[in-house]
C-alpha cells in the first residue's frame, strides 16, 4: 500500500521523536528531584546495546525493553552513588557517565556490529488507523510509541496528583526544607536517578530495536544532550516534553527530506534550529520572574546531610 509523502514524513517523525520522548522524560524526573544528570547520552547508548543484544538473543520485545531499562538503571546507579553519597561534582560525574557509557558500549558492542535485530511488529489501532492521512501517521506504530505517550501521562499524573510526586518535587525545589520535614532527600533522589536511567535506557533501545535495527558505536549521536535541552525547552513538564521531542524529531526528518520538500538551503542550517530554539527557550524561561516555569530550586546542588 502506498502512502503520500506527507503521511510518510509524519510517520517518520514519530519514529524519530520517540527516543527523545523517553530520554527527555528520564532527564525530567531526575531534574524535578533536583538532580542534573549530564550522562543521559551514556545511559541511552548502553540501553541501546543491552536491548539490541537481548533482541538478537531471541527474547521478545517486552523482555528487551526491560533489559535496556535495567542496564540504564545499573549505569545510573554509579552516578547516584558518586553524586549522592560521595558528594562528587554532578556536572563532571555526568560527563564521565557519558564517556564511560559510549566507550563501554563500543567495546562490548563490537561483536554485534553488522547484525540486524528482528523487525518489531506494528500495533495498528483498529478503527483509528483508517482515518485518512493521520491514521497511518499516528495510529499504526510499534507498541513503544504508545508506551512513550502513556509514560508522559503517567509522569504528569505522578508529579501533579500523587503524594510521592509532590514529595519528589519538594526535594527538587528545596532539599533543606524537604529534609527538615523528614523526607529522605538521598533516597528519593536515588530512586529518581534509577527511574531516569531506566527511561533513558528504553529511549536508547528504541533506536536499536525499531528505528534502525542495527547497533553502531556512538549511534545515539548527541540525542542524550538533546534530551537535556528538551527538558528545559519543556519547562520541566511531561507533556511539553512530547511537544518538544516532536519538534526536534520533526526538524531532523524535514532536513532529511529537505530535497523532496523543495528546501534548497544546506541541511546543516536546519539542523542548527533545534539548538538555537533551545537557547531561546533557555533565555525566555530564565529571564522570567521565578515562578511556574522556572527550574527546580535545588537543581544540580549537592545535598550534604549535616550530622
Amino acid at each position: 500500500m502506498e502512502y503520500g509523502l506527507f503521511t510518510s514524513i509524519i510517520h517518520a517523525i514519530v519514529i524519530a521523536s520517540t527516543p527523545l520522548v523517553f530520554a527527555g522524560l528520564g532527564a525530567l524526573i531526575q531534574e524535578r528531584a533536583g538532580v542534573l544528570n549530564l550522562g543521559i547520552e551514556g545511559l541511552m547508548i548502553v540501553g541501546a546495546l543491552a536491548g539490541f543484544a537481548s533482541a538478537l538473543a531471541g527474547y521478545p520485545l517486552i523482555v528487551s525493553v526491560f533489559v535496556a531499562a535495567f542496564a540504564g538503571s545499573a549505569l545510573a546507579s554509579i552516578f547516584a552513588l558518586l553524586v549522592l553519597r560521595l558528594y562528587a561534582n554532578p556536572v563532571a560525574t555526568g560527563l564521565a557517565l557519558t564517556l564511560f557509557g559510549l566507550g563501554l558500549s563500543a567495546l562490548a558492542g563490537s561483536q554485534y556490529v553488522g547484525q540486524a535485530a528482528p523487525q518489531v511488529a506494528e500495533w495498528i489501532i483498529p478503527g483509528l488507523n483508517h482515518i485518512p492521512v493521520i491514521g497511518r501517521a499516528f495510529f499504526s506504530h510499534d507498541p513503544l510509541v504508545y508506551l512513550s505517550i502513556v509514560m508522559a501521562g503517567t509522569m504528569w499524573w505522578f508529579l501533579t496528583k500523587s503524594r510521592a510526586g509532590l514529595i519528589l518535587r519538594a526535594v527538587g525545589e528545596n532539599h533543606s526544607s524537604a529534609h527538615s520535614l523528614g523526607f529522605s532527600v538521598i533516597g528519593i533522589r536515588f530512586l529518581a536517578i534509577l527511574t531516569g536511567g531506566a527511561l533513558a535506557g528504553i529511549g536508547g533501545a528504541y533506536l536499536t530495536l525499531v528505528q534502525t535495527p542495527l547497533f553502531v558505536e556512538g549511534m545515539t549521536a548527541g540525542r542524550g544532550w538533546i534530551a537535556l535541552a528538551l527538558v528545559v525547552f519543556a519547562s520541566w513538564r511531561p507533556f511539553r516534553v512530547i511537544a518538544g521531542a516532536y519538534l526536534f524529531g520533526g526538524v531532523s526528518i524535514v532536513q532529511l527530506h529537505g530535497q523532496a520538500l523543495g528546501i534548497s538551503i544546506a541541511a546543516q542550517w536546519l539542523s542548527m534550529l533545534p539548538y538555537l530554539v533551545t537557547i531561546c527557550a533557555l533565555v525566555i524561561i530564565a529571564s522570567r520572574v521565578k515562578g511556574e516555569n522556572s527550574a527546580p530550586g535545588s537543581l544540580g546542588i549537592t545535598f550534604k546531610e549535616s550530622k
Binding site: 563532571a92 564521565a96 544546506a266
Partner: protein
Amino acid sequence: MIFVEARAVTRWYHEWIAVLIALLLTVATASALLASLGLDPVSSLHRIFIRPLTSVYGVSELLAKATPLITIGVALALGFRAGVWNIGAEGQLVMGGLCGGAVALAFWGIDGFWVMPLVLLGGTLGGLVWGAIPAFLKVRFNANEILVSLMLTYVAILLLSVMVHGPLRDPEGFNFPESRLFHDAATLPKLFSAGRGHIGFIFAILFAVLGTWVVKYWHLGFEMRVTGLSTSAARFAGYSRDRTVWMALLIGGAVSGFAGVVEVTGNIGQLVPNISPSYGFTAIIVAFLARLHPLAVIPAGLLVALSYLAGEAAQLSLGVPAATTQVFQGLLLFFLLGTSLLVNYRIRLGRVV
C-alpha cells in the same frame, strides 16, 4: 560500620594521594576489563600504554594530542574554580579552528611574517565570541551556561560543516568537504622530524605557567577563587558575580579558540568537517585530574593524551575499538571524583559518634 567524617585539617598532599588512588583504581579496573575480554592484562597494558612512548614518533604524537588538552584544561581549571561551568569548550575550539582557518585561507598564498599572528588572532577571536554568548546570556538573562555553551557546541560543529561543504571548500578538491591545505606562512612548525608534535605544545606550557601565575598572584585569580568557594563571601567582599562569569567564559572561549586554530594550523593543516576528537570535552577531565591546578594540567594533559594513543594502539594491536579510550577516561574521571571525597573527609571504621 564505615562512615566518613570531615577532616579537621586538610593537607596539600591529601589531594595528590586521592589522585594516586584514583589512578591505581583505574589501572586495576582496566586490567579486570581486559582480563574479562580474554586478554593478558599486563602485556596488554604494556602494549597500549608503554610501547607507544618508545619511539620519537610516539612521543611526538603524544605532544600533539596533549597540546589542545593542556591549553584548554588550563582555561577550564580557572573557570571551574570560579564555579562557572563552561561545558562548551569543544564548540569554542571548533569556532577558533574555523575562524583561524578562514583567515589562513583568505591570505592563501601570501607570504609574510604577519600572516601567522593574524591567523592565531582570528581563531582566538572566534572562540572569544563563542564564549561571550553564554556569558552574556548568563549575566543578562541568567540562562544556564552549561546548557547554552553545550548547545552552541553543536551549532559550531554544524557551522564548520556548512563552511567546509560550501564557501571554504577546496575549489580543486573534487567536491570533497575539505579546504585547501594551508600554505607554509599559515602553518605552525613541527617539533620533531617524525609525528605531528608541533610548536603549539610550547604555547600550552606557557599557558599553564601563566595560568598558575594568575591563580596565585593576580587579584583576578583570587577573586575567581573566592567566588567559586562561596558566593556570599564574594558578594561581601564586593566582588561582582557578573564580572567573574564574563572573565571565566571569555578566558575559556579565547583560550579554547586559540587551541582550535593551533590544532588546525599545527596538526591538521587544512579545515575538515571534524577537527577535534572531543578535545574540548576531554579537557574537562584534564582539569579535574589536575585538581584545578593550572601547572598540574601539564602532567594531567599528557596522561589523558596517552589514553588517546592507548586507544589507537588498542585498536591496532588488540583489535578492540578505539572508543575503549573513553572507557579509560570515564573510569578515571569516576574514580577521581569519587576519591576527591578523601581530600576533605576521612573514612573511619567504627560507630558513628
